[in-house]
Symmetry: C2
Subunit: 339 residues, 2 copies
Amino acid sequence: MATLRDVAREAGVSVATASRAINGLGNVTAPTKAAVMAAVKKLNFVPHSGARSLTRRKTDTVGVILPDLFGEFFSEIIRGIDLVAHESGMHLLLGNMHGSTHETAAAIASMRGRVDGLLVMPPDLKPELLSDYLDPALPTVLLNYDAGSLDLPFVAVDNYRGAYAMTEALLARGARHVVHIAGPKHNRDARDRQRGFADAMAKIAGVRNPAILPGDFSEESGAKAARLLVEGQLPADAVFAANDQMAVGLIAGLAEVGKSVPGDLMVAGFDDIPLARHLNPSLSTMQVHIDRLGSTAMMMLLRILRGETLGAASATILTPALIARGTTGAMAQASGVHP
Amino acid sequence: MATLRDVAREAGVSVATASRAINGLGNVTAPTKAAVMAAVKKLNFVPHSGARSLTRRKTDTVGVILPDLFGEFFSEIIRGIDLVAHESGMHLLLGNMHGSTHETAAAIASMRGRVDGLLVMPPDLKPELLSDYLDPALPTVLLNYDAGSLDLPFVAVDNYRGAYAMTEALLARGARHVVHIAGPKHNRDARDRQRGFADAMAKIAGVRNPAILPGDFSEESGAKAARLLVEGQLPADAVFAANDQMAVGLIAGLAEVGKSVPGDLMVAGFDDIPLARHLNPSLSTMQVHIDRLGSTAMMMLLRILRGETLGAASATILTPALIARGTTGAMAQASGVHP
DNA sequence: TTTTCCCGTGTAACCGGTTACTCTGTGAAC
DNA sequence: GTTCACAGAGTAACCGGTTACACGGGAAAA
């Protein structure tokens, strides 16, 4: 592979001049520049980004550290990030942290010298721990994580208000006994959604201890909730699952025991996964623009890298939108095709 | 940020010794090593990967260049790659090529000095062009692309045999008039699937010019095909869509005009997207393990990087599996929950 | 004509690590 | 008591770019 020295020799100039010509800096006459460019072509020279980033002290790369994610979520976040990154000529260095806290630390450490900034979606670990791992000198934006005590910029989804709004909507459609299927206990999103549900039940319906079934965001746990619901003979005219996956499992489970949706029970989910609108009846849910989570965070990071101060914009909350569909009695849409 | 020089000074040794101690190379006494490690802890030193890769001439990173992909496909490939990469301590540098040929070249060029190898999924461009962009010195494995003339290692899905098998299955279930909905004209996968369909029709059913409707892999084009089918009064008792998305649109379109599946018509797709098994009736399709596309390619690349020669393994073909479900009259499965 | 200034270019230091080679001192072999 | 081998540590070159600074020469200013 040709180096800048080779190009300079070929063009009969010094490396400094070659470098200037290639990077379009001033102080190079047209003929000189032409000679350098000819040498570049001839030798098929491509600058070595690694070497360049060493002196420039910037890599034009941002590190993205995500936990193990389920398909749709993952790709949408990346898509959102990439969209913005690509516009600014930035590269994305992926670093999944596969579960363990130890790996998180390793993933972050291994980014030093490779990236100009970091987008981190921490799993459910404590802020104090996180701050131990993060390099304060490296601009960092957190994804879906309100750092609280740490004053790191972040983008998060307002799970609380989303759940509140959905519960409110179910009650408004006439439900009296709304049951919630919760997500994993240690999961922040799940906890916030549960709080939103409970608060809405308390404030709007005056119900202090609404029924809450355990779940773990999986389809299976939704189906299991259906059995619990029926066998336990819980009074229920609506079920609000903490995510769509569980709602899907729930509906299948209810169908098996002959309960109809929304006839016997209304059902609602959260996330608006693509499958939601294809179900029959289609699933009512809270729409979260996951890609915006990524693109917004990336934009924030870019601004920090440009030296701008974010101020109030350093905490961005995305509010999910209510999508009323068939499972809450809205008119069933023609499934399949939507412009 | 502390550098190796700082650590060396703090520990009272030379940079060479510090480097050896940190990297666990021999020729360092225990006390010396301990002193260095203490300095590392104290100064919170993290080696600068960029600098290290410059001298080592390896980056422990592989570049992944993918075209603009639809969600599921993208995340599954990445997941497969990451799975293997992570095990070997490799990083992933993402470089989407958003369409244009020019961008592809730029994406590949910008990888020089950043990566040890490349995984490239070329869009539908010609092999000759591709070889112009690729650096012969950089180990490269192609994804879903039979390089043909180029002797680059690749992993591909056997779309031809998959389509052949599905067509065969439809005929075996008693279909006489099978209609194909094709994918985008310039798309390799789509063309191979169409060939497989046409060949199966010719060889098994003796049909020379089977009906083929245009499509572009989108749901909309599937719905449009449904209209064409009904309005054109094509004789048809089975429709084989070149991918699941179109099959989904098709089924919705058929439902609108009162055609039942599989009663009036059997329907089959290709890919086995997650939605497929959730439809009612569930969609028969060819299962492609997209994640294996990624993991297999990554394994091949790792072997090349280790200096092994692949030999026959340099061309890996993944054969999709037939999944018979409700839309071809197989017993409808309880939708929603599957272990 | 002399001085000043600036433009185009070259020299060399530097980014932060790695490593070939050198040097020193100790214990084993003679 | 030499000589030799070798382990432990240091010096400095090097990876491939960027860039501060120096330098020479021609045009403009005096």
